[in-house]
Amino acid sequence: MTLDLIRIALRALARNKVRSALTMLGIIIGVASVIAMVSLGQGAQRQVQSQIASMGSNLLVVMAGSQKSGGFRGGLGTNTTLTPEDVEAVLREAPAVAAATPTVSTAVPLVFGNQNWTTRAEGANAAYLSIRDRAIADGEFFTAADVRAAARVVVIGQTVANQLFAGLSPVGRTIRVRNLPFRVVGVLVAKGQSQFGQDQDDIVIMPYTTVMKKLLAITYIPSASFSAVSGAATNEAQKEIAAILRQRHNLRPGQDDDFTVRNLTDVAEAAEQSSKVMTMLLAGIAAVSLLVGGIGIMNIMLVSVTERTREIGIRMAVGARSRHVQYQFLIESVVLGLTGGVLGILTGVGASFALSHFFEWPQLISTAAVFGSAIFSMAIGVFFGYYPARKAAALDPIEALRFE
């Protein structure tokens, strides 16, 4: 009997092919967009994670000034209490810190021949490459001796190399930085955009001493970068750094830090959080379209019940129980929902492949989204088919038979 009811339902759907297809379209679009959105969102999330990992493993950044600063206290990096000696002390005294460099950056105009280009000059020491997870493509990095001497040497990023040298080999050439001659000693391996959309190759690196003395004429440093001995040690390192700096800056207990330590885990979490919110938002919008698809099913089923009132009357007159009529219509709506769901899954998987290809995002088909939407679309069939099916089952056979 159940098989017969299924057969009856399928035949009814097959009779109205266009209508059935259009009804399913709502579900197809809904399910497809849920899957595509979730897959893309998760792909974007994965992308952010791998980019953050590539920014330098175990990286910690210290900025002068308090994060908690309110009122008229200066913003991050403007406080003058942080010094290169602090950085050295941390490296010496903190067991969880493996490497350290002061960092001080400023915008600089560069000139080579008749080419000029403005970029960011970052001052650091020889540990910069390992801390920031970067490498030299050509030439070499400057040395500790260069740092001590505040030598006018510079390592340039790919973007800068392209802008100033256009095909020439930059190593060994002299460029003018704020009108001072600097010798190019190396070129960095290209790294592309950061997840914040910054070109990480539009940069020049020079000894921090050079930036402090020759470019900015300051004795303090706005920030410093450290790397912990391992990923697991970053929290430990963060505590040690804070303790050492507080001690060196003579801060009493209860007094606010005059610096801020951040590790990349925080940044990664924040970035992940925001992409998660994004994913949920997109999935939410998609789910609304799924809901609209469900209402479409209900609408068509109500029309169908009205149109087939007489058929229902005939079936009841020859002995169909209310339940048989209800199941017949419920099966129709479940088939609509489920078929729409399956087609939607196929479309969604296809669409997320296409989109991720187009945006060059990694894409992850979420099995949870696939199974979830299959079950959900079936549930939609049941939920939105229930009322019309009940309506059909509750018809009075005599009235139904009289219906024109």
């Binding site: 009997m1 017969d4 035949r11 009779r15 007489r310 058929e311 009357g313 005939i314 079936r315 009841m316 007159a317 020859v318 002995g319 169909a320 129980r321 209310s322 339940r323 048989h324 056979p397 005599i398 038979l401």
Partner: protein
């Protein structure tokens, strides 16, 4: 006409009151009726006298507001919806004025319909469906859809559907109302043929006195009551009439 020990229909003081909003229509006002096994009853009466209301009660499509109805000795007046559906399925065959066939299904599928809800397997359904179609002379039309059949043929499909579950009671509400006179007589021939079997009880409603003459007993209703209940005198025999030239093609008659 023999009054058997156990009547198929036993109505005792049945009332049916329709209430739609503030309007109350007292469609049946105390109907008592016994119909024995193998009887052939024609119900007549003016429009609005309550014939269809009575048929719907007899067919368990409806239940009385007051009074009792025993079908085959079982009280069916207080049954639930589902129980009435089962009674319709097993004991009743209903034929309507407007045929009421499923237009998208073939003749055979229409005939099989009651058997689906009786839970009978497909092969057995097919066999019994074919048998019933053959019994009404439409064996060759099993794959035709209703719109490919004449009115008389459609009504015969409907009769086959009514017979397929071997009901105790065959009910027909103005079965010839939409048919011309020859097709009407052919349908009556079928009812008479079926009624020849002493187990087949037939109750039909008709407006036409000459159709009622094919039955054995006439019940006349007026304003929700039975005002006359008598045997048919001068009963007509459909088979004999069809064999004579009475219902020849009228064109042929004028040409000859």
């Amino acid at each position: 006409m023999s009054a058997e020990a156990k009547p198929v229909i036993e109505l005792a003081n049945v009332h049916r009151i329709y209430e739609t909003g503030s309007i109350r229509v007292h469609a049946l006002r105390g109907v008592s009726l016994h119909v024995g096994r193998g009887e052939f009853v024609a119900i007549m009466g003016a429009s609005g006298s309550g014939k269809s209301t009575l048929m719907n009660l007899l067919g368990c499509l409806d239940h009385p507001t007051r009074g009792t109805y025993h079908l085959d000795g079982i009280d069916v007046s207080g049954l639930s919806r589902d129980q009435r559906a089962d009674v319709r399925n097993r004991k009743i065959g209903f034929v309507f004025q407007s045929f009421n066939l499923l237009s998208r299904a073939t003749a055979l599928e229409n005939v099989e319909l009651p058997l689906i809800y009786a839970g009978i397997p497909a092969a057995e359904r097919r066999r019994r469906g074919r048998q019933a179609l053959a019994a009404v002379g439409l064996a060759s039309k099993e794959n035709s859809h209703p719109n490919q059949l004449s009115g008389g043929q459609q009504q015969r499909v409907a009769i086959a559907r009514a017979l397929v579950n071997h009901p105790s009671l065959l009910l027909a509400d103005e079965p010839t109302g939409n048919l011309d006179s020859r097709a009407s007589v052919e349908i009556m021939e079928l009812f008479q043929l079926l009624n020849r079997n002493p187990d087949n009880t037939v109750v039909l409603v008709t407006h036409e006195p000459d159709i009622a003459q094919f039955a054995r007993r006439v019940v006349v209703m007026k304003d929700g009551r039975i005002i006359l209940d008598q045997p048919v005198r001068q009963r007509r025999d459909a088979r004999v009439e069809l064999a004579s030239s009475l219902y020849e093609n009228p064109l042929e008659v004028t040409l000859s």
